[in-house]
Symmetry: C2
Subunit: 340 residues, 2 copies
DNA sequence: CCTCCCAGGTTTTGCGTTAAACCTTGAAGC
DNA sequence: GCTTCAAGGTTTAACGCAAAACCTGGGAGG
């Protein structure tokens, strides 16, 4: 037999469908205890499961929150093999679920196609990870849904934002290296656009160097992409940079690659080079030596994102801009200079 | 103004809603070229987006495929920080999308609650990763949807299956170590239930040992969980196992932990111990030394899963059981014994 | 000339659910 | 004894879409 509907329950419990709807949705005032009991019994024996399509159609809401992450460049795949996104999503999903919402995950590539497809399912809200072309934000505005941008510096009243103070975090990290007596510190990072996360981190790095009287040398910035492979390649450039004794990587993924590259070149860490990461991904414990890094509590950040969106949807008002704290996690990849 | 519906298009193009529906869904035979053009123009200018809830309600299908993965044990979070699941999902999603289906990701914990919730949205099919209690499979059968189990040895005509030949793969891996002149090889693995993936791998390991005349010593099996932490802890047990020179780990995650643990104990790899992994996760290149491991093309496996489900939903008939091939990837964590 | 068919539509109906308006009965208030 | 009200319902309509049945006005076949 087909899936039981509210009508079947109504028939079985000898009430009208509307009463069943009321009871199922917790509007108990509208039914006597005895009726509630009869309905609940019927729900159980008939194995009733609500039909979200119908609910969503009539209520024009879905209890689904769309989560957008980038695709990989070459192929059209979710950038989920980047543990940064994986951990974040894990956090988002758990907080959404705890609040009775469901997550719908979607990648987006070059055009707006995937976002459009996503919008066919009446999303209640959106959470956006990553940085995209302006056209995408334009479309997001058109959709006119509550939208939370994570790690974005796009300043637009249509969007909520969640991030860290990247400038301050990079400043702290660089100061930490300076405190370990490093005076020639390279910065290994992804592609530098304008007005994004990476630029803020570069700013913080500069500020720490200048403040310490070391001064900033643009040749010390090695810019590639946020990948393990770029980190591995950057090792050669770092070694070619005679004099450098430490590298601050703006992502653990890059740092992991840098470690591997340095090993291949026969350099020891932290004896020959100190390496610092950013993110505190789970892989930062797995590499050798374990990475000293800047923790930005990715899981917690994801959970906060989920809670923020839930709050917004419940009409509890949420701050337009939220920040999570960072902290330096000391492990084994950074050494004190001059104490060998 | 509210989102445009099929009626609005009909009005604008001066045809009936049904004709719009026909055109939008590619039943072109039912409209003249000129009408099609008018409708398409209206669709564009009004920014029409189909309402999947309505479609799903009337067609009793959703073009959504539910993908089920385990939760973490302690907290209720998607086991997405395990790169195995992350990579697999990435593959599944891309293949589903290429075939016009959408993925809905859900974790499942102790009960059937999350699966039930998932079922509220008319899924067209399910893909299940991981191993669960019988009650879960019971519920899966009740849902009576096309269901694909990945890496499962549950033999039930209600389910499709996709996996690797675990016994043969473990046999190969062990033989590889034997070929490198290792004669005392430990097996580091997750929890041993019955009739699952791990048991098959243990069987393959045994067969290789016995066939080589080495014989099987149960004390060489170190069983914990499929986690980095267990691998790190297993290092102590491995070292205590006097005589062992190699370890075959049934997961890269465990192998990564084992490497870290051995480093902490001051052992060199591969000079003191050879370590072999399983999966060829992206992290296997990141650890030090890079892991020699058994590749099971997780991404490709995920894609195959997506294609299989699409085929089933298109009524193309698909094999009930599918297997992907494995191959040994030689990197730096296994050494030839006796050639120092 | 009549029938039949076919291209190109239209009308009707119903999917499962809920908001809104409506009905009924009995008891309380005056 | 009449009104008012509340508790506990019921009825109706609508959400957006598509399957199925139904029109309509040629033209071809006989």
């Amino acid at each position: 037999m087909a899936r039981a509907t509210i009508k079947d329950i109504a028939l079985a419990a000898n009430v009208s469908p509307m009463t069943v709807s009321n009871v199922i949705n917790g509007r108990r005032a509208k039914a006597s205890d005895e009726t509630v009991e009869r309905i609940m019994a019927a729900v159980k024996t008939l194995g009733y499961r609500p039909n979200m399509s119908a609910r969503s159609l009539v209520s024009n809401a879905s209890r689904m929150v769309g989560v957008i992450i980038p695709f990989t460049e070459n192929q059209n795949q979710l950038l989920l093999d980047n543990p940064f996104y994986a951990e974040m999503i894990s956090g988002i999903e758990s907080a959404l679920r705890a609040n009775g919402y469901y997550m719908m995950l979607s990648g987006v590539g070059e055009g707006n196609a995937q976002l459009d497809t996503l919008s066919h399912w009446n999303m209640d809200a959106l959470i956006v990870l990553g940085v995209y072309r302006e056209a995408l934000y334009q479309r997001l505005r058109e959709l006119a849904l509550p939208t939370l941008l994570i790690d974005s510096y796009i300043d637009d009243p249509s969007f909520y934002r969640l991030g860290v103070d990247d400038e301050a975090a990079a400043y702290q990290a660089t100061r930490y290296l300076i405190g370990k007596c490093h005076a020639d510190i390279a910065l290994v990072t992804g592609v530098i656009r304008t007005d994004g996360v990476i630029e803020r981190r570069v700013d913080g790095y500069k500020r720490a160097l200048i403040e310490a009287g070391i001064g900033f040398d643009p040749s010390r910035i090695l810019s590639g992409s946020v990948t393990f492979d770029w980190g591995a390649k950057a090792a050669e450039q770092l070694v070619a940079l005679r004099g450098a004794t430490a590298a601050f990587c703006t992502a653990d993924l890059i740092a992991a690659g840098l470690l591997a590259g340095l090993h291949r070149l026969g350099r020891r860490i932290p004896e020959d080079y100190s390496v610092m990461g950013f993110d505190n991904l789970s892989i930062s414990r797995m590499v050798y030596p374990a990475l000293t890094t800047v923790d930005q509590s990715i899981l917690g950040k994801g959970q906060l994102a989920g809670r923020l969106i839930s709050a917004i949807l419940n009409k509890t008002d949420a701050p337009r801009d939220s920040f999570v704290d960072v902290a330096i996690v000391e492990r084994d990849s950074v050494g004190q200079r001059g104490t060998r």
